[in-house]
Structures are given as structure tokens and as C-alpha cells.
């Protein structure tokens, strides 16, 4: 944490500046999907299903030398107040795209030429930071689908509100705050795969935000591993032995 930050104010939900919201990840929750995950990140509730590698439809979109990762981010009409239209917005399309770019670096796409890997994220309830929640769940779902990966991708945002740098912004902080920097990160490979910013920040504070978000990602990384161990009974076995 920064030394420049003299005072630390409690946040509106009582969290410390560098504290994540309560996080719950469950893997293998959809029987029909090849891989799936459910995440609760604060009051965000997101279900992700992964289908594939499977045949690409329409065929002309297939790539001869690698699989195509397709992401679909959609918010349910009841996920926000007031109700939103079920039609995809420009925001949905952009997030689908950055989600794909955030996940692609970790997936061995060259193992499955011509095929498609579909990642569908349904936001059931939104409370700020849905794209990071989606990426966290999608990673777990991809592993659950048995798709070989270079690393897990953990994602979380950092930002600034009331001149204080904070981790994992909630909806209120997202809207009222001065800046929001969502980051996705591969801890083992030490690479940033998602980086966006909204708001306004001096260069040094931006750098601090990235570091803060990476700290958060490292914590989430551990919880993602736990969720997977739980699904595949690894944690239990170790206890028994």
C-alpha cells in the first residue's frame, strides 16, 4: 500500500481501502455445459457456461490453425434497477470483446484448429465490476471444461473515490468515484491481460491503482484454485490422506 495515503477513510460499505468484497466461486454448476462456474463478488451474481471445443458455426468463421474463442456478455433485464432492455447494448458488445482479449492469452487455442470455444456469461445481478466477475468465473469454467490453459486469469478493479485509492469498486463507488481501473492478470506468468480505465487519474496514481488491483487479483487467484480443487475433490483427498 502507498505511503502517500495519509488518511484512510472507511468506505460506504465499511470496507478497508484494500479490501475485496466477499467472494464465492463454485465450479461445475450447469449440467449441460462442458464447463461452468457461478460467482458471487459482493452483490454481483454471475453464471458462466463454457461450450466446446466444438464445431464452429457458421463454418466460414473458423480459423484453420487455431480455435476461436467467443465470449458473450449479457445482463439480465432484472439485474439492475431500473429494468434494462434485454437487447444487447454497445456496452455489452464492448465488454464481450475485452473479455475475449482478457481470456485468450491463457488458452492454448492452437490445440484445437477449426473449432469454437464459446464462453457465455449471464449477469443475474449487477453491483459494479461485472466484467471482472465474469472473467473470474469464465476462467474457472474454462478449466472445468478441461481446456488446457497457461495460467488462471484473476480479475478485479481498483479506482479512486474521495481522493482515496480503493480496491474492488462496488456499484456506488463505480458511479460516484473519480476513476475505475479494471485489470485482469495472470499471476504465474506476471502478465496483464485486461486493462481499461474510466475517469481521470494522474500517472503515478494510475500505476498505484494497477498495483493495488494486482494485489486483489492474487487473492482471487487463490480462491479460484480452491473452487477447482473443491469440484475435483482434491482438497478432500489431501485431508483424508
Amino acid at each position: 500500500m502507498s505511503k502517500r495515503r495519509k488518511r484512510t477513510k472507511k468506505r460506504y460499505d465499511g470496507r478497508k481501502p484494500n479490501e475485496l468484497r466477499p467472494l464465492k466461486i463454485e465450479s461445475g454448476v450447469l449440467p449441460n455445459a462442458d464447463g461452468s462456474a457461478y460467482i458471487e463478488m459482493g452483490r454481483n451474481k454471475v453464471l458462466v457456461g463454457v461450450f466446446g471445443p466444438r464445431e464452429m458455426h457458421p463454418k466460414r468463421f473458423s480459423k484453420p490453425d487455431m480455435a476461436t474463442l467467443r465470449c458473450r456478455y449479457r445482463m439480465a433485464p432484472f439485474s439492475v434497477d431500473p429494468r434494462r432492455s434485454p437487447a444487447p447494448s454497445r456496452r455489452d458488445n464492448e465488454i464481450s470483446m475485452v473479455m475475449r482479449y482478457a481470456l485468450e492469452p491463457a488458452v492454448f487455442l492452437d490445440r484445437y484448429p477449426r473449432s469454437a470455444i464459446d464462453v457465455y456469461a449471464e449477469i443475474l445481478e449487477a453491483d459494479g465490476g461485472t466484467r471482472t466477475a465474469c472473467i473470474n468465473a469464465a476462467t474457472v469454467a474454462l478449466v472445468d471444461a478441461g481446456i488446457p490453459m497457461r495460467d488462471l486469469i484473476a480479475s478485479c478493479a481498483a479506482g479512486k473515490m474521495d481522493d482515496q485509492l480503493i480496491l474492488d469498486l462496488g456499484d456506488y463507488e463505480d458511479k460516484e468515484g473519480q476513476a475505475d481501473v479494471p485489470v485482469a492478470y495472470m499471476p504465474k506468468l506476471d502478465k496483464i491481460t485486461l486493462l481499461q480505465m474510466d475517469g481521470i487519474l494522474p500517472m503515478d496514481e494510475f500505476e498505484e491503482c494497477v498495483n493495488l488491483a494486482i494485489e486483489g487479483c492474487n487473492q482471487i487467484y487463490e480462491m479460484q484454485k480452491e473452487a477447482l480443487k473443491k469440484k475435483y475433490g482434491i482438497a478432500d483427498e489431501q485431508e483424508e490422506e
Binding site: M66, P105, I192, L194, Q196, G199, I200, M203, F206, V210
Partner: protein, 268 residues
């Protein structure tokens, strides 16, 4: 690597990567050089503000229209700024007619975020009747020729167009709005400049051409205002970035944005 706008053969990718690794570009530029930038304002008569940017062979036209409409529910006393981008099929053989694809949407949203985050307009001044009628400022980006780096050229054209915008004034009379003959300029308070960089192999380059964008590993856009604050960041591409690379890119963005801002002030 699949290509977004066309098939660049593996050979071409190899060649471009090799040339860049040796510190040069296919068109003879150095890694940190922009192509020639030409900026013209006031190119359209029927829109309240307009600008055209030529960045090498890339050509974008921005028209600003000012009208009235209902404000957003969460900001009832603020005017609205909206940015839209259209990839015209005349711009590139791979651009097809139809609704905006994800690249057009991204372009519009990144330009939009840059303008909005920097709070370039005094949105409270653009309110007519709180909760009912406000000024709507539409920034429409038309891509007329595509040769890479649409974000930087569109962002520059957008800010130049807004700076030259003069719109008719409405007055409020008995709870109704009425058009007057008076015209005022939009007050543009900030100058956010977008700088786009690519990582190709182990090298970083600015102002990518279409071929470079086709074969890139990672693309990062950083928008910087005149005080050196960052207003927007957008990363795309199927590779990760290290924190070291990010630091170099931040420095590059602040250097290059100064050069572009100079261009902007010369035009006014």
C-alpha cells in the same frame, strides 16, 4: 494470429516483425514516429462543428450536431454528449455494410470515454429544463479510409470538431423551449489526446498501420489530458502486458500526446 481486416500471410507477419525488431518500420518510420498528420476544421457546413483528420492514409471525418432531447435518468440536470462511429464500406475492402461491428462500437466507446472522463464540456450549462430537456451533443465519426490507428485520428478529429462547434441557443419560456437566432460556441475545457501503441514481438510501436494492427500481439490506447492525467485506457489483443511495458507505454503516451496537442493548437 487471425487478422481482423484481411488475410495477412504468415510471411508478411514474419517480415513485419523482423523489420520492427531491427528498429524500423515497413514504411520507413522509426518505432516512435507518427505518420504525417493533417487536421482541417470547418469542413462541413450543415453540422455545427466538423473536422477531418488525415493520418498517413487513414482518413476520418467527424461531424458534431447539437440538438435537444431528454436527459439520462441518473443525470437529469446535465446535457448529453454521445459519440458514434461508422465504418463506411468505402474505407476498406474488408469493411461490409451493416450495423456497427465490435470494432466500430469499441472505437466509438473509447473516443466517448476519453471526452467524457476529461469532462471536456460543462454539462450543467447544457441543461435547459432539468429532468426534461437538455442539449444533446452528437459526435459522429465517419471512417473514410482505413489504414490503421482509427482511435487516435478519431479522438483528434472529435476534439477539433468540438472546439469549432457553434450552436443555436434555445431559451426557456413558460416551461417550453424556443429556438433563438443567437449562436454560441461550445466551451471545450480539456484536450484529451489518445495515443495508441502496439506490441509486436518484443518491440513497442506507436501509430500502427493497418498491416501492423493485423499482426499485433497487444494494443494499448492511453488518453492523456494537458495536465498529464490519464483519461482512458483500453487494451486489446491476445497477449498480456508486463508492468515494465506498461510503464514505457505511459511515458510514450505523454510524450506523443504533447506533439499531437501542438498540432491541435496550430489548427485553431
Amino acid at each position: 494470429m487471425s487478422s481482423k481486416y484481411g488475410v495477412v500471410s504468415r510471411l508478411k507477419k514474419k517480415k513485419i516483425t523482423e523489420v520492427i525488431a531491427s528498429g524500423k518500420r515497413m514504411d520507413g518510420r522509426s518505432l516512435e514516429d507518427y505518420r504525417d498528420i493533417q487536421l482541417r476544421t470547418g469542413v462541413l457546413e450543415k453540422s455545427e462543428g466538423s473536422a477531418e483528420v488525415f493520418l498517413g492514409k487513414t482518413r476520418v471525418l467527424v461531424g458534431v450536431k447539437v440538438g435537444t432531447g431528454t436527459p439520462f435518468e441518473d443525470t437529469p440536470d446535465k446535457g448529453v454528449l454521445m459519440c458514434n462511429a461508422e465504418f463506411s464500406p468505402i474505407a476498406h475492402p474488408s469493411f461490409e455494410p451493416g450495423p456497427p461491428d465490435e470494432n466500430a462500437i469499441e472505437l466509438a466507446r473509447v473516443v466517448d470515454r476519453g471526452l467524457r472522463s476529461a469532462e471536456i464540456l460543462d454539462f450543467e450549462k447544457l441543461c435547459l429544463i432539468p429532468g426534461k430537456v437538455v442539449y444533446m451533443v452528437h459526435v459522429d465519426v465517419h471512417v473514410l479510409n482505413y489504414d490503421g490507428n482509427l482511435i487516435d485520428s478519431s479522438a483528434l478529429a472529435a476534439i477539433a470538431a468540438l472546439k469549432t462547434t457553434k450552436h443555436k441557443v434555445y431559451k426557456v419560456k413558460d416551461g417550453e423551449i424556443e429556438l433563438t437566432d443567437k449562436k454560441v460556441e461550445l466551451t471545450v475545457r480539456k484536450e484529451p489526446i489518445a495515443v495508441t501503441m502496439l506490441k509486436i514481438g518484443n518491440s513497442l510501436v506507436v501509430d500502427p498501420s493497418a498491416d501492423e494492427e493485423d499482426i499485433m500481439d497487444t494494443r494499448l490506447t492511453i488518453t492523456v489530458d494537458e495536465e498529464g492525467n490519464i483519461c482512458t485506457i483500453q487494451k486489446t489483443g491476445s497477449e498480456g502486458l508486463t508492468q515494465e511495458e506498461l510503464k514505457i507505454m505511459m511515458k510514450m503516451a505523454s510524450d506523443k500526446s504533447e506533439m499531437m496537442r501542438k498540432k491541435l493548437s496550430e489548427t485553431k
